[in-house]
Point group: C2
Chain length 314, copies 2
Amino acid sequence: MASIHDVPPDAFNYVWDNSIEPALEIESGETVQLYVRDASDEQIHKGSGVEDVAKLDFSHVNPVSGPVFVKGAKPGDVLEVELLAFEAKDWGWTAIIPGFGLLADEFPDPWLRISEVDAAAGIVRFGDKVTLPHRPFPGTLGVAMPEPGEHSIVPPSRFGGNMDVKHLRTGVRLFLPVGVEGALFSLGDTHAAQGDGEVCGTAIETAMDVILRLTVRRDFAIDAPQFHLPAGAEVEDARTSFHVCTGVGPDLMECSRNAVRATIAHLGDRYGLEREEAYAVASVAADLRIHEVVDAPNWVVGAFIPEAIFEGGR
Amino acid sequence: MASIHDVPPDAFNYVWDNSIEPALEIESGETVQLYVRDASDEQIHKGSGVEDVAKLDFSHVNPVSGPVFVKGAKPGDVLEVELLAFEAKDWGWTAIIPGFGLLADEFPDPWLRISEVDAAAGIVRFGDKVTLPHRPFPGTLGVAMPEPGEHSIVPPSRFGGNMDVKHLRTGVRLFLPVGVEGALFSLGDTHAAQGDGEVCGTAIETAMDVILRLTVRRDFAIDAPQFHLPAGAEVEDARTSFHVCTGVGPDLMECSRNAVRATIAHLGDRYGLEREEAYAVASVAADLRIHEVVDAPNWVVGAFIPEAIFEGGR
């Protein structure tokens, strides 16, 4: 059995840049362990208050572990990332960061929630009123872009990066287009739970150890990330009842905003959540879906609130 | 036990207009049966060929049964629509209609597929290669807008209408804001199966008898449609494996288009589907989800292809 190759814990970066020296070089098909720092790069800690959000230094956020050079990977190939295991820490943070998030204009003040992550029980305790299923995944997985120089770590691209796809859990295979020789794979921004959309801009942010297998594929070609979910991967999170708030209109972004605004109002009316907490709950638990995108000029986006996260909910 | 009130089969309309005379008047909480014509208004039949798509008369499409006047409903109230039962016909149609659909520019020619709907077996036979789960729902459910005059039946609005929300199945409760006295509820565009997005513009289009209960609610207020899914409603469709193609970029509409373009390419490569059939399969089976809408300037949309619809798929 092949050994697991470690990416050294001190090998992390704050930008995409294909001139960064590899932290590790492996053969295609080998297994790698990464020790991933949280998205605040340890600026927020277990005892933090809202003042630590207010003074966040954005020159070092979203550190990504790596890069890993995969021998033989060439531009035009596909890098398969098989997600094998996540080892969670016992806490995570969720913040509303001024200027960031889907409703940034409506939430100008910093806000912070420290949650307890109980991996053994399979739950995340998010305040008194909300218990989330523990669903660890990396928010950022990507390969270096062919364009030279430094590129912001914040936006994703067709080479992956900060995609925040909550479905990239154990057993899932992610496919990334290779942009440069060796692929130069990096990973960061690990989350203990998140809704599709990550609407307030943060999830249950937590450091995590990650084990995965990297394999070069040449039997198909892709222009942007694709992934494969094994049978049953989505079942557990489908068992709950859902309340769904829709947004209807001519712009998918504004539809999404209206669906989230309605979600915040609903969570306030129904469960007594403050506006900030409701926005954060939408971010860590509610899923955005596009129901209709053809009946011009108006589209429909729905925000799915899983009711099992509330006490007495199913 | 209260009887079921029939909307007469000949009571249907091609526009929203709050001056249309009610076809039926009921008390809040009563049950209604509607005999819904297919979205082509019988212009497409079981023996149709593509020439019937080419000559579609758009002055009578998407007929909606109704309107139903619900006594006591006032502007500002909520109309609860509890979906009780659907009686499917034994066939349905799916078309690519020139000028309509998410990729209209790339699919200029009409295309048609007649599917066999086998409600007893719980399936829809969509050609030789694809078998869909039978998931009947109405694409159009709405109440009259307060603005006078005729309004197109095609786009949905905050009063509902042609929302094409595939989740509105038996056991689900839909909530609509009431815009005029009596609400004036209508329903049409019944589908035997559809993906979130309805990307080619049509689903498995089929006539259907629908039974539902209409109740005036005043214990909460809403600005746009909301709905409630009972526990377990989403489980069956979550059991399959999924292949997911993403679109990444600064516009959610273009992200959606790219995710669907990649889906069409994948379905061609993997299953040998022609481009038109692949586009139609994306429309009747693939779900669009918004994974990330905060990591400016790029967002991520995923198109989920359920692999159990293919022979040998799980």
